[in-house]
Symmetry: C2
Subunit: 408 residues, 2 copies
């Protein structure tokens, strides 16, 4: 099918090279298509790795193995297959992953468990081992490519290439971070059909890298939702090559630790927003802010109930300031709330306060806000100090078009 | 907007009169429309009542009051306002309900709390007291009407009138049950924008009527979902006028208690299915059967995860036997499951067994099944003895059309 570029797409940014992380792409022809679909990133010796993974019980072999591999903390290569998720394929799927790990490890002279494999695409078809073998052989001989080429090659139903970068000063040393991500449907906490990879030249101990990634993930990738469905393959990996020459970052007391964490969070937030911007059928980017909840976690649940409500999402698609549906969504979240203290607003204008419509409510500024592409929904529960922000997109005919026809 | 009759609609059945329950309808003109929108059912002295209500925290005044009123167990009248839900309207909404209760109670010479009021329609607009007053005065003078007229008058976005009936033998006495229901969007457990009313001429003690209704509700209304959104107004009330002349049914040991419960369950199941058949934009009626779960409750949660998944619902809309999305939905439910023991089928044909695609899987019979209007999705977890069945509809362009434009 022909996927139209999302109206919310952003141009691919200029992204620096990362010393010790070299991307290459090739054609494995996992599907009958004329595009690169195999991505290989070679990582310098001594590269640290951290990861967060889907909580879907029916996860893929790649997720199961990746979860184990990050515990060792070291990586020499990343391989991403696009067009076949290899999920729900039993022992045959596992054999294909092990074959790729062995082939790359032999080529680089590293341990098998330093080779990280991800796959994305159709569920239930074992990754063809012959295509994988030829593809891996080709990609290891290919010329290095740009981060945008790598971002394009990990994509499936994405309508634009997604990347982000940031930098941080660790003492006197400047370190660079780049990230690429793919994902547009089956997106929800915790982790969705989303594959994200972050590369930095900083020297970071694996345990601290994991701490930074997990913390950043909680407020970024775990706060986006497109359709409430969570995938069997979701993975975000962070690789730190150590080539920048900084003193090893091994905890919060190390010089520049806060700056490094801020940069990781910045890249994660940018990438997470890009996924929402490519939400299937999205025409509006929606930020849902909940305040006054009993706790931050309670606020997040309420915000997700709003962001996942088909009735809220279709109302916003239609530019309808239907705050009654937001009330409904707050109420169904099952979190502490009091109808008569609840306030609902759009883009900074309260429509309802303390459980009643605002007297002389002027819908004009709200209608104008909702006619735009960047929407903000606000709910104040007046119960406590908990707050949270999540991001989603509207629900449109485009979502139905894509998902009633595409065999994902 | 012009709502097209659901392709899944069923004709309104012949329904008997119920001695002691007399329906009437009138025009209150809650909206600018040319139809009856106020329903009044006068109930004989000594009528027992039971009810189940939405768990939405932001429920309407009507729900709050109804929940208290059923504790007393007696009813003399039901009033249903259509076109305005009166939810989220603070003290002004409450005053309108109290006015209706007082006006009807004065007319009938009964206690205020024997008058049950429901309202359905737009949220956040206080029910206009002047229209309610004139409407109630008119309806109490109106001629008795048919159950179909009553079903049509409680409706809002419904595209067809919904009713069901059953009978039971209590010893030598035959008792009749009729039910009417409205609802098509914002439908999900627990209880949705659904108003349902069951009337019987049986003599039933309030506590036993409540037990029958609560039990029946658990496997019927609480097992349907259209869009996972739960409303602020959902209510099912059962009224037993006692005019059939049976010995009072006051517990499971009374003659005919099982038959009566079966009839209540039958009416509830029929009404619940009718709501799904009028699901906004529905083109297919979907039964989701989960077996082999750790418990019945676990099976129900897994079944609802499947039934609420936009990706599953759009796949079925497209006639796509996309069992991978069912795997995904099972996995995201967060219930005990083992990927490598999971089996998925459609209409009696397994597509995947024990965590892998079925060898030589023939998609032809499945494709034929999915081309129909009555779809069955099966998931066996091979974990235990828990099972559950839930009902939903597909997700189509019609849902977007209705909800991006209609201010509900």
């Amino acid at each position: 099918m022909d996927l139209t570029r999302s109206p919310l797409a952003l141009p691919f940014p200029d992204m620096p090279q990362i010393a010790g992380a070299v991307p290459r792409v090739a054609r494995a022809r996992y599907k009958d298509w004329d595009r690169c679909d195999l991505t290989f990133v070679e990582l310098a010796e001594g590269t640290s790795v951290a990861g967060v993974f889907t909580r879907n019980v029916c996860c893929s072999t790649e997720v199961e193995m990746g979860r184990e591999q990050v515990k060792a903390g070291h990586a020499r290569a990343l391989v991403v297959n696009a067009g076949n998720s290899n999920a729900f394929t039993g022992y045959r799927g596992r054999e294909a992953v092990e074959q790729i790990m062995a082939q790359v490890a032999d080529g680089l002279g590293c341990a098998h468990n330093e080779v990280f494999v991800s796959s994305t695409g159709v569920i239930g078809v074992p990754l063809p081992k012959d295509k994988a073998r030829d593809g891996v052989a080709a990609v290891m001989q290919a010329e290095p490519c740009s981060w945008q080429d790598a971002a394009a090659t990990i994509a499936t139903t994405d309508t634009f290439d997604k990347g982000a970068s940031a930098s941080a000063m660790l003492g006197e040393t400047r370190v660079e971070l780049v990230g690429i991500v793919k994902g547009s449907g089956m997106i929800a906490p915790d982790m969705a059909t989303m594959l994200g990879y972050i590369f930095t030249d900083a020297a970071v101990a694996p345990a601290f890298l994991q701490e930074c990634l997990s913390r950043a993930n909680a407020g970024t990738f775990n706060c986006i939702t497109v359709d409430s469905d969570t995938s069997t393959s979701d993975t975000v990996l962070a690789f730190a090559t150590g080539k920048a020459g900084n003193a090893l970052l091994d905890g919060w007391d190390a010089p520049g630790a806060d700056a490094f964490f801020a940069a990781v969070q910045d890249v994660c937030r940018q990438l997470a927003h890009l996924v929402v911007r490519d939400g299937e059928g999205a025409s509006k980017f929606i930020e849902v802010r909940v305040s006054g909840a009993a706790s931050d976690e309670s606020a997040r649940r309420v915000a997700l109930a709003i962001a996942n409500s088909p009735l809220v999402k279709t109302a916003i698609a239609g530019g309808d300031a239907n705050w009654g549906r937001v009330v409904m969504a707050v109420g169904k979240a099952g979190e502490p709330a009091d109808r008569d203290r609840l306030s609902i607003g759009f883009g900074g204008t309260w429509a309802a306060r303390d459980g009643q419509p605002v007297p002389d409510y002027d819908e004009a500024p709200v209608a104008e806000h909702l006619a735009g592409q960047e929407i903000r929904v606000e709910a104040d529960l007046a119960m406590g100090d908990g707050s949270a922000t999540v991001w989603t997109c509207d629900l449109t005919h485009g979502y139905i078009d894509i998902n009633a026809d595409y065999r994902s």
